[in-house]
Symmetry: C2
Subunit: 429 residues, 2 copies
């Protein structure tokens, strides 16, 4: 039975979050949005994928999806997965569109939206949630999905094979454990820069009561404000819970080192995006200076080559993959495998709209088949906008419960798409 | 007298170059295109700027320009130049659009197109070619145009001031020299991958006869083909002329090192883009391995932070700035100043459409006021599509002659815009 992708529809879906101060940090103040891709087929299923954007400009990623659509419309799922790297490169290395990246920004995010929709479709056809599809794939087939171009100096197909074969050992026990207890997570809902002190204290207290033992705050405002807010959170969560900090790239390298010296008193577990996301050497300097605080980054790391260097330079203690910044599941596989090779824990970036839905699958697969440890592993959790998804994340006591429905949990409710379509949906009129 | 920018028009202009094999290399096969920006004012002048793309997808950069237009329409040239970094950041750090880069790819190229149009307008208002406007600006004003965010660990305002003050010494003599002899350049028109051997030989012979003593060939096909074509060019140009090679990022790091071992017999002067453009550490390894051959890169270096690292890591022996990949003149100033600080010669990337017109101004300013040396300095020259510009480059004996008309030489002929507008111009119907 062959499934042909007969059409691609793209929707510009925007949620008016900016006005509420949700998601405000040192550099972003957004209307959480999705460039939402639907792959129509000649069978009963559609494939759903999206990339997340911050509001204005979502029409640009939509235009990029349209420019790439001819690479997927008319193809069968079977031929795509018979030669997955060739398919991936038809998008990421299009001889004309590649110039617009290459492999970064708008064009790469659009690539990710389409590639993820293809994986969602494949998982639905197989009747499995994506994490289970991936975890059950033979090593050889997983390795064939990875484009090793430009990363062979860090990870070879033989390296990947060894990691994935080893990951088969004990995977049933790890799965049973996850079904029982869920996947560890942390919350970012307590300390947005847009929130006043009393709201930070109240939200922290509430999150602690709900079972969260790891919380992240935004820093990068005036340093005395950052210190004051950090003390409030540390007071509320006690000495043992983890406090993470996120500077969203506002600091220069030396500034990051100096400011983390001042923030060290509240014992942060990690400092996320301390400086410009492209600055591998800068992150390496910061990591050496602030240890044992871990440097974390990844939500805007453009591609596997940036992650490769962060690992090679020992610039990070936590690798934050993102489901839709890079070129979809295929590229994320390369990143998860490199993290395992270099022994760095993966803690996926989430939040925005739909990112939690996506990354839970990646973290579960990582644990079952690649990293095989929960030590230092947590998935970010933000309590926004889940209601717009057909298969929203479910959490209990600060842990993600396993998604069980077929697919990549990316399918949005039709009524949400209609309501929040920009600029013509009722929410925007 | 105040000049207000009253409107911004953007044109999708594409030239059907792909069919001819011009511009073919290891990864690109393009219809050279421009996302062309016109700033309309309440005065007699318009500002012209563009970013170069490779054909398909030019509508995406056009959409990005439209998304950014509100940051420039309604402003006066005077207020923009009263606070140039604030203006630059209004584009590059828009709280919603920034997510689409940040500072890379489509959104940053669109930023560059607008910023360059503003500089073109300013130069026209001052009645000077851009190189002269820049070379004659007081040090303080030039320094105020640079956003030092994220590069202070490599270049401070004090560093920039010292370099630019020193550049005042002897600048009149250097200018007289350029007026007499022109600016050195090299040609890339001889060795595109799409050309057969006999065409390569004939073009090389012709270029040598025309006075060129530095030529660049594309590599990255089958290595035995690369070696054969390289030998043809070396035979034709003799032992003393410079032969440069450009791999357009196709090689992995170890592959680049191995292949340059084989190509070393023809004594290449530089190897350009030996691997993925984001791979700072990879370039550094290659540079150490292939020395004294110089590693060159920059045409797709996303921003000043990538260039900073290439310099810090001693990864390049030639820095190839691009006029429209990054955020326009302001960001290029940062790059040229960093190159001077680290003692690396700047050889701008050109070709495509309009890139020669742009970068001649940057190279001339660099010589007059920053780098102050011609040692190892050359501007790329490709003999394509100059006829579409109002103020096209002029060359003599393999050297650029100084542009003298006011502006940034970016203004396209109205009849060319009309003829090649996509998809409705006569050339595309």
């Amino acid at each position: 039975m062959v499934t042909t992708i007969t059409d691609l529809a793209v929707h510009d879906v925007r949620f008016p979050t900016a006005a509420a101060g949700d998601g405000s940090d040192a550099i972003n103040r957004g209307d959480y949005s999705a460039t939402y891709v639907e792959l129509v087929t000649d069978g009963p299923h559609t494939g759903a994928g999206f990339t997340f954007t911050n509001g204005r400009g979502n029409e640009i990623t939509c235009a990029a999806v349209r420019a790439l659509a001819h690479h997927v419309v008319g193809r069968t799922v079977e031929e795509i997965f018979a030669a997955p790297v060739a398919f991936w490169r038809s998008l990421s290395a299009d001889v004309q569109l590649r110039w617009l990246g290459p492999e970064k920004g708008v064009i790469h995010m659009a690539t990710g939206a389409i590639v993820n929709a293809v994986w969602d479709l494949r998982a639905k056809l197989d009747g499995k949630p994506l994490w289970r599809l991936l975890a059950e794939l033979p090593t050889e087939e997983l390795v064939r999905c990875v484009d090793f171009h430009h990363i062979t100096d860090a990870l070879t197909p033989d390296d990947a094979t060894a990691i994935l074969d080893k990951g088969l050992i004990g995977s049933q026990e790890r799965l049973a454990e996850l079904r029982e207890a869920g996947f560890p997570s942390y919350t970012t809902s307590v300390g947005w820069l847009g929130y006043p002190d009393d709201k930070v204290r109240a939200l922290t207290r509430q999150a602690y009561a709900e079972g969260w033992r790891a919380m992240k705050m935004k820093v990068g405002g005036a340093i005395e404000d950052d210190v004051r807010r950090a003390r409030i959170i540390r007071e509320e969560i006690g000495p043992d819970a983890l406090l993470m900090m996120d500077a969203n790239q506002v600091w220069d390298v030396d500034e990051a080192i100096a400011n983390m010296g001042l923030l060290a008193e509240v014992r942060p577990y990690w400092i996320e995006e301390p400086t410009h996301a492209d600055d591998v050497l800068g992150h390496a300097r910061i990591q050496r200076a602030v240890s044992p605080i871990r440097v974390a980054t990844g939500e805007v790391a453009a591609n596997r080559v940036i992650f490769k260097q962060l690992l090679q330079a020992e610039a990070i203690g936590v690798m934050q993959i993102d489901a839709c910044r890079v070129g979809g599941v295929n590229e994320v596989l390369a990143e998860i495998l490199m993290a395992a090779k270099f022994g760095v824990p993966v803690c996926p970036h989430a939040g925005g709209v739909g990112l939690c839905e996506y990354v839970q699958h990646l973290a579960i697969f990582d644990y079952l088949r690649v990293g095989t440890s929960l030590d230092g592993r947590m998935v970010e959790y933000v309590d926004h906008l889940h209601e717009h998804f057909v298969d929203p994340v479910r959490t209990r006591d600060g842990r993600y419960l396993l998604p069980e429905r077929p697919g990549y949990s990316a399918t949005m409710r039709p009524e949400s798409i209609a309501e929040f379509s920009f600029p013509d949906g009722p929410a925007w009129r």
